[in-house]
């Protein structure tokens, strides 16, 4: 680990950089908009009434704090470290995504924006955005890859019930990164009234920092709850990574607790090798520039972006938030990958031992827990982020297990 760094919590710098990562790689049309957003966010961040409104809605609308749960039977089964789960799957709309959406929509309202756009992969961020827009009576347009619209029909219908317009994206190859491209194209076109609500710690500055700050409620709660439960900090914290927002949310408040080991779990798809059928940007990619920031990306030798592959639509993104790229390079966090097959096994194990149907995304984090827990002592405390529930995934899982439930 880099001993020269005094604090890992000071980023980003005024250029929006975490080390060499991050930045503001956007077209001139958008540049004034993200500068305005940065200014407004910096102002809101220090405004107590902003956080009062967040706290109220987090409590009464989202259901925070989410429980910290000791997974007793799973711990017994694994026969090593104590496993805790941060139950963000119990949030309204079923995932951590709403933590961030709430913050961005409150900000959008303060900025007088009347139209909200978002990109979505699995549909969880789209559903969260549609939900909060419905609550505040805002127009909501969600861009979703045509391929994802096909495989996530229930979430598409949910968004429509909530009054959102869902735009199937056919540009490129019709996946999450193309949905993000089209959302950016919409924003460039509708600059005056539109707020772009990004669903993860990616995009141009200030998004990675802002989304991290909103998601950090996860880690802050874990600190307090772990003190209550165990009288100390956890030894290891683990989260799954698509763009990296639930992970940053858990990790950030622990970055300067050097005794806490931090592990991010990327989607290994069919395996992290030359075939590139995975979404492990850090373990299988290299630095590049996409969607407004410099970060590790899946790309070919010519700098063309590759499509990821994962059983989990929420992890299916060829990039990763720039702060993770930095934490990776300075060695503060460790990043590993888990294959589809391993995630499916963890999914089933969680259902059977804990009575919790996890989303496929946190199943990746859990799979890594099952790999390391058995070799750790019984007084070692692991906390994994159960960032989403699996209702949205049962069709995918059934198909993968060869069962017909249609």
């Amino acid at each position: 680990m880099n001993e020269l760094v005094n604090s890992f919590m000071t980023g980003p710098d005024e250029k929006g950089r975490f080390g060499d990562f991050g930045g503001r790689f956007v077209s001139e049309t958008l540049m004034p908009l993200i500068l305005e957003l940065e200014e407004q966010y910096e102002h809101a961040k220090t405004d107590q009434s902003f956080w009062d409104e967040m706290d109220f809605l987090w409590k009464h609308y989202v259901g925070r704090p989410s429980p910290l749960y000791f997974a007793e039977r799973l711990t017994e089964r694994l026969g090593g470290a104590k496993v805790y789960m941060k139950r963000d799957e119990l949030n309204h709309t079923g995932a951590h995504k709403i933590n961030n959406v709430l913050g961005q929509i409150i900000l959008a309202r303060r900025m007088g924006k009347s139209r909200i756009i978002a990109e979505t992969g699995a549909g969880q961020h789209g559903v969260a955005t549609a939900t909060v827009c419905a609550k505040f009576g805002l127009k909501c347009v969600v861009y979703m890859g045509a391929h994802d619209v096909e495989r996530q029909q229930p979430n598409v219908f949910r968004m429509k019930l909530l009054g959102a317009e869902v735009v199937p994206v056919t540009s490129g190859r019709g996946t999450l990164k193309d949905a993000m491209n089209d959302a950016l194209r919409d924003w460039v076109t509708n600059v005056r009234d539109t707020f772009y609500c990004i669903g993860t710690v990616a995009g141009p500055h200030p998004y990675p920092a802002m989304v991290r700050d909103f998601q950090s409620i996860i880690g802050k709660e874990v600190r307090e709850q772990m003190h209550e439960a165990e009288g100390r900090l956890p030894d290891t914290i683990i989260a799954a990574i698509g763009g990296g927002s639930n992970a940053m949310g858990l990790f950030y408040p622990f970055l300067d607790d050097k005794e806490v080991a931090i592990i991010g779990v990327e989607a290994g798809g069919k395996g992290v090798n030359a075939k590139m059928e995975h979404c492990a940007s850090l373990t299988g990619g290299r630095p590049g520039v996409l969607h407004g920031n410099r970060t590790y990306l899946l790309q070919d030798d010519d700098g063309q972006i590759l499509e990821g592959f994962s059983i989990s639509a929420g992890l299916d993104y060829p990039g990763i938030g720039p702060e993770h790229s930095w934490l990776h390079d300075v060695g503060r966090a460790q990043y590993v990958s888990i294959t589809d097959k391993e995630a499916l096994e963890a999914f089933q194990l969680c259902c059977e031992t804990e009575g919790i149907i996890p989303a496929l995304e946190p199943s990746h984090a859990l799979a890594h827990v099952t790999k390391i827990a058995p070799d750790l002592p019984e007084d070692h405390i692991i906390c994994m982020n159960m960032c989403g529930r699996g209702d949205k995934d049962i069709f995918t899982v059934a198909k993968a297990l060869g069962r017909d439930i249609s």
Binding site: M31, G172, V188, T189, V191, L290, Q304
Partner: protein
């Protein structure tokens, strides 16, 4: 002085407006796009903007997105794009070539290596959509040092406060994007654009060229009339995509350049 500077100074001496044409390198094949490129000067094109294909062209509309995808599907690469320029330069040492695209393929190559190769191949300037002035250290400053122009976009959202920053490290010409939107979207009216061009010209001596949404000889004429020239991209790329022969596309380009040159 680059070929771009020389061209604009010659146009100024002749009292002529510039006509700039955009095509995508490798669309639908290297052969066809090279044939088209070679024909552009004869069709009245003063400056060629050569698109470097990228998988994620965030500022482009469907026409140019699809052109890039066709090029990539046909195996287009940065090396082949530079080869196209070298081939073009064999018979044309004068027409300025501006490479237009996104940063990642260049970053992936390595900035200093790219700049050496681009300069040697015969490229004169760069328009890199996702590099605003805030990221000037990345490519803009090194490019100018290497003797390439770095042409910046100014847009309707570039207010007076910001304009000096946008103009600061710009060279060659200023590309005014006449609408908030993506390439190929609806055109702006000349009378709406005129005050914006004036606003920019009050702060720079560089030529101001207007683009986005121009599709006809008439609008080329009226837009060029209120600026130092105009750019047409999607309309030309779209003609080629509709299956027209290169000579027919060039005939269409000639009508556009005639329009601009009438202004």
């Amino acid at each position: 002085m680059t070929r771009i500077d020389a061209k604009f100074s010659a146009l100024k001496d002749d009292g002529k407006k510039a006509f700039v044409a955009y095509i995508m390198a490798g669309d639908p094949s290297v052969e066809t796009s090279l044939e088209l490129m070679k024909g552009l000067p004869g069709a009245g094109v003063d400056v060629i903007e050569l698109g470097l294909p990228f998988t994620d062209p965030m500022a482009d509309g469907p026409t140019i997105q699809e052109a890039g995808q066709r090029a990539l599907a046909g195996g287009m690469t940065l090396d082949k794009t530079l080869d196209m320029v070298r081939e073009f330069r064999k018979d044309d040492a004068e027409t300025p070539i501006v490479l237009m695209g996104y940063y990642n393929p260049i970053y992936s190559r390595g900035v200093s290596r790219f700049l050496n190769e681009a300069k040697e191949a015969g490229i004169d300037g760069l328009i890199i959509v996702d590099l605003p002035p805030e990221e000037d250290d990345e490519l803009c400053i090194p490019a100018q040092k290497a003797g390439l122009n770095f042409i910046r976009l100014a847009t309707p959202t570039t207010d007076d406060k910001r304009l000096p920053k946008v103009l600061e490290n710009t060279s060659g010409f200023v590309y005014y994007v006449s609408i908030t939107g993506i390439t190929g979207a609806a055109a702006a009216e000349a009378q709406e654009v005129a005050p914006e061009v004036k606003r920019i010209k009050s702060q720079t001596d560089l030529p101001v060229i207007v683009g986005f949404g121009i599709r006809t000889p008439e609008s080329a004429e009226s837009i060029a009339g209120i600026a130092d020239g105009c750019v047409v991209g999607s309309a030309i790329v779209g003609e080629l995509a509709s299956g027209r022969k290169v000579e027919d596309v060039l005939a269409f380009v000639k009508t556009l350049s005639d329009g601009a040159h009438r202004a």
